[in-house]
Amino acid sequence: MSEITLDTLKPGDMARITKVRVKGPARRKLLDMGMVAGSEVELVRKAPLGDPIEFQIKGYHLSIRKEEASQIFVQKIE
């Protein structure tokens, strides 16, 4: 199965994180918030202007910008 990035998902899509390539302090924060390899995420919705994006992860809702999402690699769960 091919690897895609988190920002290419559509609302309602589920995926499993394979790799977090974000650098800098954002990386630390994302890891703390549960964006670790193996976590399941669901794209809940995009903001009215298309960015940021809201995900469901570890039983709560987290929103991040496309910029960070495009550096998080996932495998889509059908």
């Binding site: 977090v20 650098k23 302090p25 954002a26 990386r27 630390r28 924060k29 994302l30 890891l31 703390d32 918030m33 549960g34 670790v36 390899a37 193996g38 976590s39 919705r45 903001a47 009215p48 202007l49 298309g50 960015d51 940021p52 809201e54 570890k58 039983g59 709560y60 809702h61 987290l62 929103s63 991040i64 910008r65 910029e67 960070e68």
Partner: protein, 665 residues
């Protein structure tokens, strides 16, 4: 005999009801201040219970205890350095998985822990099954179920605190990170052991793990020790990013292992919160609803505050008349009447607005809508170099810059917050409106509305350009990443909102008030001396200052009277109008002032426009300067805001006036 003291720290994620629990325990006996050296709010309170004085410190709400933000550093430094007797972690029962992440980190700090399982009602209501006994066993910490918003479980929590204090045994537990990491941890521990002083101060295992994660703050703590060289060597040999991810991962693995044993949930269906969100962040309706709610908040702030503002004004007018009339000598009467009572009155008339604004802000925050506001506006704000969270403070600036700057506190990133604080003063606050109304009304007739609207737009444009400019010069870098929890919507608790309102209102009166008072007395002295002249007239020091600066402001089309009025505007911008009244000798009569302004040959429509532009931008009023100083922690930024404002105002007013002249107006 004095009571035994127990020092307790409250830790927990944001949005888990930490403040509500803190208020429920301490009631009104709390003290709000700042943590030393930083602008993070520190709250402490004391509760006397069963013969013990339980001193509670509310740590900043954090998701983790790394060095990501000031909040996290403050929270963990308090636990490590001040060593409270007991740390209570407030855990949101309806969101255990992420909340336990902080628990795994608290465990490593080797402190006695009690877990307050808050909002149990919500979790149970939606059908979660919680196995409390199993949880106590696994986490090796007492667990108390609480519903802070309804005062449930508070006494039991305090009982546990006392029990835990009486029991000297340390109940510790830690999680394992797997062979690879554990062997590195051991290696580092071995090196650290050679420095006993370090070992005495900080938990060994915690230090080792943090060093492996590349924690700069802990590294700095080790830097002074003789072992730092060996540590650095070891750290240089590993891929820290890899370890960082691995450690976070292992924590979640540990949580995943225990989670199914302590909680089984059956619901994943559409909740009420999701339903509301579907509408409030709707592609087409989201932004209009947001703007409508904000407008409503303003409408309410001003409409509901008016009678209270009026009452305060009346009290001060009465005071000024009655107190100063009987006083001798005359200068004292003037100082107290015109200066102090007038000045304090000017400060206090803002208070109703500030109280209501903060009450509403707290409702927005407590309901969870503030996070959505940032979510909705982030893209727009990011384009101009700011964070989604900056939008609300900027918007509040239209009411009054003072609470707007205080509201910037919700922005965690220092740079993002600084930029917000520095550009808020360009947003045209309510106090500037009387100036526009007077001048636009006198010189622009039917176009007055358009001119006033243009002033508001100009303020926004200058704020946006300033933000961009600051981003590329003094406060370099990109806005902080937007990584934000969208907490479920809740009905905010009234007590929390009232406490929040009271704290911020009191802070304004106390801190800003003293600075404003000082400013007012200075202005009064300038306007009253040399003694014997009419208050604020041409012969006073203010008049002299006006004359002195007049050449500087001449290219903008101002005469000395306008300059003097602008000096008075420092106290509060609405005073510009009042002092023009004094200077034209018409007092408090707007109609007469309008007539004499039109009659004055030195003011043309163009110079009036220039004056409006200058008043909009030239400098934050004393209250705003005071708050900038307080919120940034130094005079440096207050002075910067002052000078930057004057320069920008001069340049733009110059462009308007000279450009207008070139065009033949």
């Amino acid at each position: 005999m004095g009571n035994t003291k127990i020092r307790v720290a409250l830790a927990g994620n944001p949005n888990v009801g930490k403040t509500t629990l803190f208020n429920a325990i301490t009631g009104s006996r709390q003290h709000v201040g700042n943590w030393p050296g930083v602008t993070v709010e520190k709250k402490t309170g004391v509760k006397t219970y069963r013969g013990y004085d339980i001193e509670i410190t509310d740590l900043p709400g954090t998701y983790s205890l790394t060095a990501y933000s000031m909040d996290e550093i403050v929270a963990r430094d308090y636990i490590i350095e001040e060593k409270p007797d007991i740390v209570i972690q407030i855990v949101d029962a309806s969101n255990l998985e992420r909340n336990l992440y902080l628990t795994t980190q608290l465990m490593e700090l080797e402190t006695e822990m009690i877990i307050a399982l808050n909002m149990c009602d919500l979790a149970l209501e939606r059908g979660d099954k919680l196995y409390i006994d199993r949880m106590q066993e696994i986490l090796a910490a007492p667990i108390v179920q609480t519903v802070a918003s309804r005062d449930i479980g508070i006494d039991e929590l305090l009982d546990r605190v006392i029990e835990q204090k009486q029991d000297d045994k340390y109940h510790g537990r830690e999680i394992g990170y797997g062979d690879v990491i554990e062997s590195k941890v051991l290696e580092i521990e071995k090196i650290l052991l050679t420095d006993p002083s370090l070992q005495k101060k900080y938990p060994l295992r915690w230090m080792s793990i943090r060093l492996l994660e590349g924690d700069g703050n802990v590294k700095a703590k080790v830097e002074k020790s003789p072992v730092s060289k060996a540590i650095n060597q070891l750290l240089a040999s590993i891929d820290q990013e890899e370890y960082e991810a691995e450690i976070a991962d292992k924590r979640y693995v540990a949580i995943n292992a225990i989670f199914p044993q302590i909680c089984t949930r059956c619901n994943v269906r559409l909740t009420k919160s999701d339903m509301i969100d579907r509408v409030l962040t709707n592609k087409y309706l989201g932004i209009p609803i947001f703007l409508a709610l904000m407008w409503g908040a303003f409408e309410l702030t001003f409409a509901f505050a008016t009678p209270f503002t009026d009452m305060i004004e009346r009290v001060f007018v009465w005071l000024a008349v009655n107190v100063s009339s009987g006083l001798e000598p005359q200068w004292l009467a003037s100082l107290i009447g015109d200066g102090i009572i007038g000045g304090v009155g000017a400060v206090l008339t803002f208070v109703p607005n500030i109280f209501i604004l903060f009450f509403l802000l707290s409702l927005l925050e407590g309901s969870g809508y503030l996070a959505r506001a940032a979510f909705i506006m982030d893209r727009l704000m990011y384009k101009i170099g700011m964070h989604g969270k900056s939008f609300i403070p900027l918007l509040m600036g239209f009411g009054c810059n003072v609470p707007a700057i205080m509201a910037a506190r919700s922005i965690e990133d220092e740079k993002d917050r600084l930029i917000t604080i520095l550009v808020v003063p360009f947003v045209s606050c309510g106090a500037r409106l009387p100036i526009y109304i007077l001048l636009a009304g006198a010189f622009f007739g039917r176009q007055a509305g358009t001119v006033v609207f243009f002033m508001y737009v100009l303020g926004i444009v200058v704020a946006v350009i300033s933000a961009k400019l600051l981003r590329s010069t003094i406060v370099k870098g990109k806005p902080a990443p937007f990584i934000m929890e969208m907490p479920p919507y809740r009905v905010p608790t009234l007590r929390t909102s009232i406490v929040h309102m009271w704290d911020n209102g009191a802070m304004y009166i106390k801190k800003a008030g003293t600075i404003i008072l000082l400013g007012v007395v200075i202005i009064w002295s300038l306007a009253s001396f040399p003694w014997g002249i009419e208050y604020g007239s041409e012969g006073s020091y203010v008049g002299m200052i006006g004359h002195f600066f007049a050449p500087l402001l001449e290219p903008l089309g101002f005469d000395w009277k306008m300059t003097v009025a602008l000096v008075f505007g420092l106290v509060a911008k609405e005073i510009v109008v009042a002092s023009m009244g004094v200077l034209y000798g018409v007092g408090d009569n707007p109609a007469a002032l309008t007539t004499s302004l039109i009659a004055d040959p030195s003011i043309t429509a163009l110079s009036a426009l220039s004056l409006m532009v200058f008043s909009l931008l030239y400098m934050p009023c004393v209250a705003t300067l005071g708050v900038i100083k307080k919120e940034t922690g130094s005079w440096k930024w207050a002075i910067f805001a002052l000078i930057y404002g004057i320069v920008v105002a001069w340049l733009i007013a110059f462009l308007v006036y000279q450009g207008g002249k070139l065009l033949g107006y």
